[in-house]
Point group: C2
Chain length 389, copies 2
């Protein structure tokens, strides 16, 4: 049983600060996370072919598997800015390192916001100045500092033996506007080497962030990074994994639920697929389908759309007669055809949050659960009705 701590706190030896430095109007837009000693570290970075300068820098840093600080700004993503942008990211790492007395090579930089614009370096230099003195065990100011259009800051903590694991994340947000960009920083005082962290993180992400889709658009700035400062000593590996799995899953749900314009979380569980990769493909196809998403939004019992979204996975093994599906436990598809159900009942089940769909393909042992959200006018408004400035 994984124990979540409420309210969440930073693990021993970690501190954070958040500030409003004028990148965004009236909201925190800069965050600094700091460990009093160097950490073992690992991370998963976006696979987009146009990685931002912070991603390129992060790749270098993670080769060594050591980090001590993280500095994050909102509003400008420092993507598609070439060599000059990479130099800006390095400079930002140097300034942030200066605030905590940290080797710049141990500072991770993360930026989200508009693509193709240089960072306003003067603002950042001035904004960082003195931030080291504000470092505190309270994670909330920093959690607010990494937000874009998130409607609330996102921090979660699990207890694993004597150690804690805390995740600070931000999700589907826009600044000016921009793409749905996900950042998650995970801090722990457990003692683990970088390779073990890397393995544990990949496994925890596989069923959480790697199966989370707000709008199918993969950002150029996504990163999930874990840092372990060892202050709580060694922990049981299985229990650490279990805690990290739960932490990532719950953070992924928070991010999905707070997707742009979303009113509810969608969870699509597929079982009986040929194998796990096919289960993942089908689950993503359903959770990403605009017609399934609008069905969930409108609470309209148009359950044939589930079949459509399963069936459009043309390269997967689907035996129509073997397919069953449920919405919130109510069977809606049986043997590939509409089950006998009351439309009013399904309408009322679809009005809930989260909406849980279960799909059994009946062809093998593969299973996977994908996370997403409904599609609403709010998504359109946030992404079209803006003027970039």
């Amino acid at each position: 049983m994984v124990r979540f701590i409420d309210p969440p706190v930073l693990p021993r030896g970690f501190q954070a600060a958040g500030r409003h430095i004028g990148l965004k109007e009236g909201e925190n837009d800069l965050a600094l996370f700091h460990s009093r000693r160097p950490c073992e570290a690992a991370g998963l970075l976006t696979r987009n072919h146009f990685p931002g300068a912070p991603i390129i820098l992060a790749r270098e840093r993670l080769v060594e598997g050591r980090l001590q600080s993280v500095v994050v700004n909102a509003k400008v993503s420092n993507v598609a800015t070439g060599e000059a942008g990479l130099e800006d990211a390095r400079t930002m790492a140097r300034w942030a390192g200066g605030e905590g007395g940290v080797d710049p090579g141990l500072v991770l930089v993360a930026s989200t916001g508009v693509i193709g614009r240089r960072l306003p370096m003067e603002l950042i230099q001035g904004g960082l100045k003195g931030m080291g003195d504000e470092l505190d065990v309270d994670p909330w100011a920093a959690a607010r500092g990494i937000m874009t259009t998130d409607t609330h800051p996102k921090v979660l903590t699990v207890q694993v033996g004597d150690a804690r694991i805390t995740a600070v994340g931000k999700g589907a947000g826009m600044v000016a506007p921009n793409m749905a960009t996900m950042l998650v920083f995970i801090f722990t005082d457990a003692e683990l080497p970088a390779e073990a962290l890397d393995r544990a993180l990949r496994r925890a992400c596989r069923d959480s962030f790697q199966l989370l889709s707000i709008d199918t658009d993969t950002s150029t700035s996504d990163m999930v990074v874990i840092m372990a400062n060892g202050e709580a000593g060694p922990v049981d590996g299985d229990r650490f994994q279990e805690g990290l799995d739960s932490l990532c899953m719950r953070m992924a749900e928070l991010v999905a639920r707070d997707g742009e314009g979303a009113t509810k979380l969608l969870r699509v569980a597929v079982e009986g697929a040929l194998d796990r990769p096919e289960a993942r493909r089908v689950a993503r196809s359903v959770v990403e389908s605009p017609l399934v998403k609008t069905m969930a939004y409108g609470a309209d019992p148009n359950v044939g759309r589930i079949l459509m979204a399963v069936g459009k996975c043309v390269d997967c093994r689907i035996v129509p007669e073997a397919v069953d599906a449920w919405i919130q436990g109510q069977k809606v598809i049986e043997g590939g055809v509409r089950a006998d159900f009351q439309e009013e009942e399904v309408r009322s089940l679809l009005s809930g949050d989260p909406v849980e769909m279960r799909i059994s393909l009946g062809t093998g042992p593969g299973r996977a659960t994908a996370l997403g959200c409904d599609l609403t006018e709010g998504y359109i408004e946030e992404n079209a009705a803006y003027a970039s400035s």
Copy 2:
């Protein structure tokens, strides 16, 4: 030079009729197309794993490569209805054949609408009665009869030598509501055997309907079928192909432009890809990206989203420094970074219709152009705010 005929007409020997029989409120909902002699025929059918009964029947019919009539109803798609649904489709073919004195084995049936409901067979039987007497050379009543939420009927004719090719299509529509379902019936009086029609149709679809995406959801009822009655005698094969290519391309544009909620057509041309399959993948990624679609809708010069959508094709060969992009001829990306342009100018270019994006990847000879539309509140309204009934 391909010659379109305006207004479009049916080729020699073809007739059509359309009726309102009470499936939809106050609009034509049944269509019959008829050739006075049997036609050579070919078709492309949806690859969705849950094909409707009409698709299953069409597969049988197209093995022989001969058709003489097409009967189409709106509102109920006869999908996921099992053996009974297939029997309904056969019965409908028999009734429709009776109206034109046509062998039921030469009647193609097409249905779109809600999934998982049986056809109202009594309505259809009564509705078809006497329709044979209304058959006429005017295609419009029938073109209206196949519409769902299309805002206008879609008919196009090209002249090829002495022959004509006429396409009647319907696009991204909803009934109760349902998925974006595309039907296109193509009639010609040119004389061509079924195998030649099949080859020509596949080639014409490759760069038109096969690169058209309204919302990424592949319907269970899609079909494009061509019928040739030979009344105009043989035609030059190259000119026929050229005419059919143009016809399919323009019909695909009509369908895209009339996508659910759409205010404009998007055309994304990719060149310099490693090969054609990669060009198609990148073009579809851009035209399907919700963030590119909302950018086009809001006329917001957030051109970094183009890079994002190119870059998320993680399995394609993308060399960031080699990527250039243009919007309506204005360069917006140069060597993988934002080009020097006036935001106001690009905003005004994005306000046009169609919006043309050109992307040069600089890595090979592959090229492809994908068609789509913008994403607006209208799409959400049509797909969520309905009550199914």
